[in-house]
């Protein structure tokens, strides 16, 4: 039991810091998630991401368990993952937008839901956990860690924009280009910690 818990924690930390989807792989670098309005919408985005990824981690790990050793795994894996994520997405959109008291929050969720769901960072978490033959606890930990890492990346970008707003960035580099260079230097610094071995 505690063994699986330790696995959960270690995988979560790995997915959060070392293999951060945004910083180490450049996944999820979509301008919609790069430019959040403020801390609140950033938290909302990360929360929706975590909600979707954690709930869809259950059927995904079940699929991994059932498909172990099957020859068609590479063929049927992706559709099943996407189907499970789509299921969670539909349920969430129905629940979140219909049965929520706070209408403003519901509207915001309705806006941010597709952005946070159809996101390469979210999909890559499951493919990576499958390619590394994770167990259930590891898959869950990896999913949760990716969610926290994604939120952390969103906030890093938000504060980087604040910092760059008052420095004399040349006109050509304003906005997205300087942010990408900023992220590039950050992931260069992170690369010094993790080294060459990134699972694909």
């Amino acid at each position: 039991m505690e063994n699986s818990f330790l696995l959960f924690i270690s995988t979560a930390i790995v997915a959060l810091a070392v293999e951060n989807a945004v910083l180490a792989r450049g996944l999820g670098t979509d301008n919609r998630s790069l430019f959040v309005k403020g801390p609140r919408s950033g938290l909302l985005m990360g929360g929706i991401f975590a909600w979707i990824i954690v709930w869809s981690a259950f059927p995904v790990s079940l699929t991994n368990y059932l498909l172990k050793g099957s020859p068609y795994v590479t063929v049927v894996r992706a559709p099943i993952y996407l189907a499970s994520i789509l299921m969670v997405y539909t349920l969430t959109s129905v629940l979140g937008t219909r049965h929520l008291k706070n209408r403003q929050l519901a509207e915001e969720i309705k806006q941010a839901l597709p952005v946070a769901t159809f996101n390469s960072a979210l999909f890559s978490a499951f493919f990576l956990s499958a390619s590394q033959n994770f167990f259930f606890s590891q898959t869950l930990g990896y999913a949760l860690g990716s969610a926290v890492g994604y939120t952390a990346a969103i906030f890093i970008i938000y504060y980087a924009r604040k910092r760059l707003a008052i420095s004399a960035v040349p006109r050509a580099f304003r906005g997205l280009p300087i942010l990408l260079i900023y992220l590039g230097l950050l992931s260069l610094a992170l690369y010094g910690l993790i080294g060459h071995n990134l699972p694909t």
């Binding site: 180490a24 792989r25 450049g26 996944l27 999820g28 670098t29 979509d30 301008n31 790069l34 430019f35 403020g38 063929v75 992706a78 559709p79 996407l82 189907a83 789509l86 997405y89 539909t90 959109s93 597709p114 159809f118 996101n119 390469s120 999909f123 890559s124 493919f127 990576l128 390619s131 938000y158 924009r161 604040k162 760059l164 707003a165 040349p170 006109r171 050509a172 580099f173 304003r174 906005g175 997205l176 280009p177 300087i178 942010l179 990408l180 260079i181 992220l183 590039g184 230097l185 992931s187 260069l188 690369y191 694909t200």
Partner: protein, 226 residues
């Protein structure tokens, strides 16, 4: 902003604008993950471009029908399901030609099912959007994406691994660090800056804003509050 200049520009540089300086990949940064992480060899660039061609065109075709006949809630589901199926088909097809590349790309082949370009532009479709211009624009976007992929991949493969399309060539100094994703960030950042400079030089902001209107997006610049 002299309109004559704009017109002359449109006559001459339409292709450049569509493929490089105005392609939404550079203007609003769609499909950045592929440009950043996977643009390390020309073969993978070719593979991903072909896959995006299949996925994007097919999904746009289906999304046009969906936008016409389906309620708004179920459209993302239909689009993503379509793109997934097309991605699987494209993957099976690519494994014939680019076997080693498909293995090397790993998850990115799957991730093409949720690439930002397809999601954004299928969301942007409405009930009364005409099929032909939409499909032409989609094809131009895919072409622009593949052009960028090839440019960056040429640069990185030549500098990083000293090969071109797998064949070793003489290079003055090999920089293995170029193959790491962080350099993809930096190269794409400089390319975006180059595209902005080109637009500014050629005719200022007019075409850029037009492209933004087409992509139904607005670049946010320095609008945060401390």
């Amino acid at each position: 902003m002299e309109l004559s200049k704009v017109r002359r520009y449109r006559k001459r540089h339409k292709l450049i604008a569509a493929l490089f300086s105005q392609s939404p990949v550079l203007i609003i940064g769609l499909n950045l993950p592929f440009l950043i992480a996977t643009s390390v060899s020309l073969r993978s660039a070719a593979a991903l471009s072909l896959e995006l061609l299949v996925v994007h065109m097919g999904t746009m075709a289906v999304a046009l029908l969906a936008a016409r006949y389906c309620p708004r809630v179920v459209r993302p589901v239909i689009n993503v399901a379509t793109s997934t199926l097309l991605m699987m088909v494209a993957r099976l097809w690519l494994t014939v030609f680019f076997r080693g590349v498909v293995d090397a790309l790993g998850i990115y082949i799957y991730l093409m099912a949720v690439n930002g370009m397809t999601l954004t532009q299928t969301n942007a479709l409405t009930k009364d959007s005409h099929p032909l211009p939409v499909l032409r624009g989609a094809f131009l976007n895919v072409a622009g994406f593949s052009v960028l992929m090839f440019v960056i991949s040429f640069f990185r493969e030549y500098l990083g691994s000293g090969t071109l399309w797998g064949n070793p060539v003489a290079v003055f100094l090999r920089l293995p660090g170029v193959l790491v994703p962080f350099f993809g960030f930096i190269v794409v950042g400089f390319l975006l800056a180059g595209a902005k400079v080109l637009n500014k030089k050629l005719l200022g902001l007019a075409l850029r804003e037009r492209a933004l209107r087409e992509a139904r997006f607005s670049i946010i610049e320095n609008d945060v509050v401390l």
